[in-house]
Symmetry: D2
Subunit: 345 residues, 4 copies
């Protein structure tokens, strides 16, 4: 951390800052430029809040040097975290595919789509039983009944189940049915929930809030990691921006940046990321070409009858048509697409 003094700061101001740094347990390092004096804080283990120095007389600004997350950083763990699931390695050499409907609606719906997806080589099934909805008047999911349907599908098709958990006291329940616990974008900084999923060992798919910086996303992951669960996947699913043409602005820059900053696997969600079915395909290709470790895509056998997110869901045939393009995109990133790879090995 570096403390930049104002141009008019007095020698006493600089001295006070240096004293305060020593009181906090660190070593100050002073450097006098022509227009500004700057004081470095040495020995900081990320626990100094910049606010503790910003208030002081003569201080212009405080600039952090170290990222505030540690367990999630590449500095801490250079080798990628790989998560084994349904015979796949998420974060490994192949690009994985998670697919399924937004919501679990009926047993028949899930069996139909699971059969279609299995035929395409998909082994990771998404589907929401507890649904966070912006409006209290929208369909809120089937709840535990939905979880039971998901578990049946897993038993029948051998797929791993990814489903959302919305509150800390639902973690045990959802974890008893699901293989991956999804923390939704709206809950990215719901710390009670992060702590709860961190205290168990199911892998967690942590979605980026639409206004989170990557540092905030990594700090949210850090909450989970710090509780002892190392199996965290990060998911880019669109940020808030100003163009009314899209529900969200799918931020693919996050993919290569996160791959540099962290060892955790990075999944991209072009369905929520764009909110428009007509560009899900191109953006799915782009996400894989950018280096994502996996895609999570909404697929519904009958989007026109979906109880939620029909506007952004692909049909199974759409996904099938997309697979060869995704394999090309994976090759662009020096990888293979898991379903295609499996079919050809």
């Amino acid at each position: 951390m570096i403390v930049v003094m104002r141009s008019g700061a007095s020698p006493e101001d600089v001295e006070a800052v240096m004293t305060r740094i020593r009181e906090l347990g660190y070593r100050p390092h002073r450097s006098d430029g022509e227009e500004r004096t700057v004081v470095g804080v040495l020995g900081n283990d990320r626990r100094v809040d910049p606010g503790e120095l910003t208030w002081m007389p003569g201080v212009e600004k405080v600039v952090p040097i170290l990222a505030p997350y540690k367990l999630a950083s590449r500095d801490f763990q250079p080798a990628p975290t790989v998560i084994d699931l349904a015979g796949l390695q998420i974060g490994g050499s192949d690009v994985v595919l998670i697919a399924g409907p937004c919501s679990v609606e009926t047993r028949a719906q899930m069996f139909e789509v699971a059969e279609d997806l299995q035929a395409l080589g998909v082994r990771l099934l998404r589907g929401g039983a507890f649904k966070p909805r912006t409006s209290p008047y929208s369909f809120q999911g089937l709840g535990e009944e939905g979880l039971r349907i998901l578990a049946e599908v897993r038993d029948e098709f051998g797929m791993a189940i990814v489903t959302e958990v919305m509150g800390p006291d639902e973690v045990d329940l959802v974890g008893s049915y699901a293989d991956v616990l999804q923390v939704g974008a709206r809950n990215m900084q719901n710390y009670r929930l992060l702590e709860a999923v961190g205290r168990q060992q199911r892998p967690v798919l942590l979605k980026r809030s639409p206004s989170a910086t990557l540092e905030e996303l990594l700090l949210a992951a850090e909450y989970i990691l710090a509780q002892g669960n190392p199996h965290v996947m990060l998911c880019e699913r669109g940020i808030r921006s100003y163009d009314p043409l899209v529900r969200n602005t799918f931020d693919l820059n996050a993919v290569p940046l996160l791959k540099q900053l962290t060892h955790l696997p990075v999944i991209a969600d072009p369905s929520h990321g764009t909110g428009r079915r007509d560009i899900v395909g191109p953006m799915a290709r782009a996400a894989v070409a950018a280096g994502a470790d996996g895609l999570i895509v909404e697929v519904h056998a009958h989007p026109e009858a979906a109880l939620s997110d029909g506007a952004q869901s692909l049909r199974p045939a759409d996904l099938e048509a997309l697979l060869p393009a995704l394999e090309h995109a994976a090759l662009a990133a020096g990888r293979h697409l898991a379903p295609v790879a499996a079919a050809t090995r």
Copy 2:
């Protein structure tokens, strides 16, 4: 809701949309322009999700006409909601002041600041016992011990207590000590928490998420109202924007807009809204002049020693110096500042 067809939509496409609208229980109303056909959806009680029609062949876009919230709207309740607290009417004719430190740190700290604030006429005290912090390594609050200190302060000084609740299973605990339950910005769409605070009767201070539209904020309030708790105050506390000079962009446009859209009281938080103590004063004046029903301001007797948010905290003397200006600002909005009004009646 209005469905806009593409320029090349066929008569069958239009017919299919009209049939689907009838199936959903509404009446379609067709209008043929020179370049586009448009179909209105009549009888919609806000329960049609635009996504149910967007997917259909020939549809270009679906435009909502009604706001999706109801209980929170001025159409539903034209008269303002007024919340009585510590002898004050929040949402009434006077502008109220909520002040206090970011975090409860010690009993001595709270008694010192409460005494100072009481002397200034402040009757609503803020202070966090459970602290949501971006980093897991930052100070997380004293927990129930903090709540006990707050209750002591209330008994001693007769102030009403505003404090944050972070999870649904803490609502009873926090409610047993506090007068107002604050739902923080990060939890604005934590639906389990919104439902829990909606199921009890303590007033709720609901903070706007830094990327929430006003419609999303009002839908979050709707979650609480729909559970039966009508005592909701909305709080603007800064939105995410692009200028690195400020932690947040305090969005004062929200104040007059919310006053038009909803009957709920609107509180402004210039401390979090800006993140910089040096502009808290001007922005507090601006918020009151814009028509806010109240301010929530961070005040700490010793900001330089605060365990959190020292950079944005005023000293009691700063607040005292600001009061006459705030009374002028209240007059600009045709109101009075409660502490000043009380002193002069």
Copy 3:
């Protein structure tokens, strides 16, 4: 400027950075922390582009310490710049009012509104003869005929004229009729235009682009100042944000921040800043309470017939009704409103 090295940077990497700094004519200052080495650049007169060091092996990031503008900064000139116009001091103790229609439409329209405004004590008249419009099919202004009308109004009513200039080769023409040359938000980084208005001596009203940081706004002002014209006023007129309820997000934080950073007068435009007549009044009050040196407000005698921006224009009677509130807001900022002050002296 400070160069932060990566955690794995080699001694050679650090040495190369220090050598490069010396080659650029500055002195390197090295500081070895536990996790990172940091190298300060001493003697930098703002002419080192961070990009010149970012590329180097082992460099993690480059952090600027000094603001890149100089002539516009408070460090350079602590005393406020005051611009004399029509007997008013812009940037002085009183808050000035600039009012008038978006576009000059007819001689009769301008005389009618000027008479109304003069009666309210307004001495600075705005009106566009050259209109930058997002669509090529919108009304583009009367051109030189509009300028002639403005000059007639000045002669008749003794008001100073503020009008926009769109291209470098129109500067002489517009300057021969107008008292203040406005550079519109879309042209904030039109450097040929900035240079041209900098090479003459009429005061310039420089509007902030809707996505400009304050640093970029001040650098745009620096272009004008560097050419020799010291009479620059800055104008906040709304930034781009994500809420569809407003055309722009009027960013009042800019007002107190700019007053700290620069000696140039700061004008606020609540008409363009919000795009909605129904909140122009509250936001005008807020802008004055926040410390703006002046307001620029769209006023049209018949907004319903305006050729542009009718949706955000006040009627003269609306402005009249607003004046007492604006005087209260000015008092909140320790000032007076010029028209009110003049009437009472």
Copy 4:
């Protein structure tokens, strides 16, 4: 266009809106819902400004139905615009590559990089002679001397030259040397410049402003098209967002969206789009996979010595290493990369 009346609008309010629509030369179409009356505007040829109706009593909002641009739209011209240049078809089946340094610095520098690029099959060379720089103290380009160097390179290597023009009175000069006139992001709404490049026939590369909606970008293109120049290429180069890790947020959603909305070729600029050399490669792959018609990439033989934008420039060897991945990405979009395609035909 559709006019939504407030819930409390009177029959007279509705009648007045219908009368005004007739006065403007259109036909009103009324539809009475249960909570709102809605009036459609039929026969609108895009020349009604929503503002002309928004002001009226009882009006809640005005919703446009048609896009305001016409010549740029796919509705107007379904077939793609293809621009022939140096034997390449921009907007045709192959993905083209434009490469070169940010600025022309010396004759030797340009000859060196041109030779390297030619060896990679690149036929379109970028390089700035007039440089718009945020700071007036940064290197501003060589001016006409730079243009002469570019023309020499063209004569020597047979490459087509892409270079920026900053003001309307430089259009003839730059056009006498260059093959493509670039309008930079800061000038996207510099209407005098758009008109000037529209009045000549050199192809124009129009860069998206960092806060422009796609509609605004297409309206800027419309300004050029409306003057008679049909050879416009659009360029996505990053939007302003909130994450400090990147200079810009490269918005790839723009690529498939623009391909739907317009017949004009779409070029992507991952260098400015991200501002970070370390993610230019992944984002270039992503842009091609998303369906861009071309890439414009900064390449400098010695980025460490570049006078501008060294931080985002690739070396020729970096580009060479990227080509096979870009060909895979092009295959993902059903196309080929022009340099690779040429080498194998």
